[in-house]
């Protein structure tokens, strides 16, 4: 928990935050509406005797009362997919529509890419990319199990991604669910902070900046970008968004989120950020009894 001390000045009720980080997280699933309605998925769970509670902010997210969510008929049929509650936020903020072209820059193992496909009624094109070939097999497995026919899977570095292979030259929307230091997953992986170092923050934020810039470039005017991480470090969040605001044609936009959250920061460690970064969301574990996440929404302006 030591690395989290640096967030004492920015987290309200820091003791509650630390206490939440030490509590293990329950099992949440997302209903995969490509294969079943929420009604059908929950009826199957009831028939199997698996208790559940719907998330108040998103009827497609369920908290399950079972230790083995993977060995239910509901999971076997691909009606539900194990996905942490907060990890279902970024795709809903991106709000993709059926028929659009959407780029998921860092897509493996595919929880959010398949969620994007579901939000689009599995109509349109979701380009699910990841630079790690080993993780692509998990992405493909999940896409098939969940029946996502709108996914095209590619294996490249998002920072210099080429659209030449496709017959279109820009996306309508992009999700940048960036690689990060994963501080917010501490409740799922108690050793998430083991390799923590400021050097790593520097290294990974360089990658994040490269990816978000490419995402803005590859998205058409008026298009939408969502930047998300599962970490608290402002170096990987607000500072990355600030970087792209200064270098590419885009601006921060508002979004509604009915989960409790804190505003994005406008300063950290002597650096000042664009005041509109307040419109980003920091979701801390103690606020909704979930993992931690950062989400910012941008509009491409040229």
């Amino acid at each position: 928990m030591e690395p989290l001390e640096r967030y004492r000045p920015i987290v309200d009720d820091f003791e509650a935050f630390l206490a939440a980080c030490e509590r293990p997280l329950g099992n949440a699933v997302r209903v995969n509406t490509i294969k079943a309605s929420v009604d059908r998925a929950t009826t199957v769970l009831e028939e199997e005797g698996v208790g559940y509670e719907g998330a108040h902010w998103n009827p497609r997210v369920l908290r399950l009362e079972t230790d083995s969510p993977g060995s239910t008929w509901s999971s076997f049929h691909g009606f539900t997919h194990g996905q942490e509650e907060v990890s279902a936020v970024p795709a809903t903020v991106l709000e993709p529509e059926p028929g659009e072209r959407v780029w998921d820059c860092c897509a493996a193992p595919g929880g959010k890419a398949t969620q994007l496909a579901a939000l689009m009624d599995d109509r349109g094109t979701v380009v699910a990319n990841d630079s790690n070939l080993g993780r692509i097999s998990a992405l493909r497995f999940n896409a098939e199990r969940l029946g996502a026919t709108s996914l095209a899977v590619t294996n490249d570095d998002a920072r210099n991604y080429s659209l030449e292979r496709f017959d279109f030259d820009e996306f309508d929307r992009a999700l940048v669910d960036a690689p990060c230091s994963c501080e917010g997953t501490i409740r799922k992986n108690p050793d998430a902070l083991d390799g923590w170092s400021e050097g790593y923050l520097d290294e990974v934020s360089g990658i994040q900046k490269g990816i978000i810039r490419r995402a803005v470039q590859a998205t058409g005017e008026g298009g939408t970008i969502v930047y998300s991480t599962c970490t608290f470090a402002p170096e990987e969040n607000e500072a990355v968004v600030q970087h792209v605001l200064e270098r590419e044609d885009c601006r921060i936009v508002d979004f509604d989120l009915s989960l409790e959250h804190s505003p994005g920061l406008t300063e950290w460690d002597g650096e000042e950020y664009d005041e509109r970064l307040e419109r980003a969301a920091r979701i801390y574990p103690h606020q909704n009894d979930t993992g931690g996440f950062f989400v910012a929404k941008l509009e491409v302006t040229a």
Binding site: F76, H77, G124, T125, T149, S150, L151, A152, V153, R165
Partner: protein, 181 residues
Amino acid sequence: MGDDTADGASEGDLEQNDGQRFGRLPTTAAERTVEGRASREEVVDYFADRFAIPPETFDDYTFWEKGAGKIWIYGGDAPSPITIEAIGMTCLRTRQEHWKPTTDFVQRFGREAGECVIELEAEEARAFAAGEDQDLERWDGDWGYLIAAHRIAGALEPIGVGLYVHGELRSMVPKGRQREL
């Protein structure tokens, strides 16, 4: 290219299948440019003839081949050929005597099927999902690949593909998809 095919002159001008990339299936066999490649029409007809899945089901989808006979179903945009990791989902294995649908395809589209669907009882369904073969004398329909389904929450739901021969239903659920339920 392709003049070493055993089928002789008619196939002589066709390209060899490149297993490393995805090629879109030709609409009909007459438009075929790659040796041995199934056409869209043949695929849609197969699903209609074997499983009575209405051809309109596939109106908004394209079919692609990668590798030898592995067919994928895709709903998005892409030029052909294209070299990427995956395009939509695998749906069918062709280039063999008996074409074989995939488990994930029948879970996704098998609800539309009206024939060659075998309904399993609870215990049978569990065994099937676990990958077990079982004796099932009661089936008096066609032999070959069937859609195994069970009734769950008031409706019939496809579980996967089974191979029915000599009174036995063999589960074709791939290892990584098998579960003890």
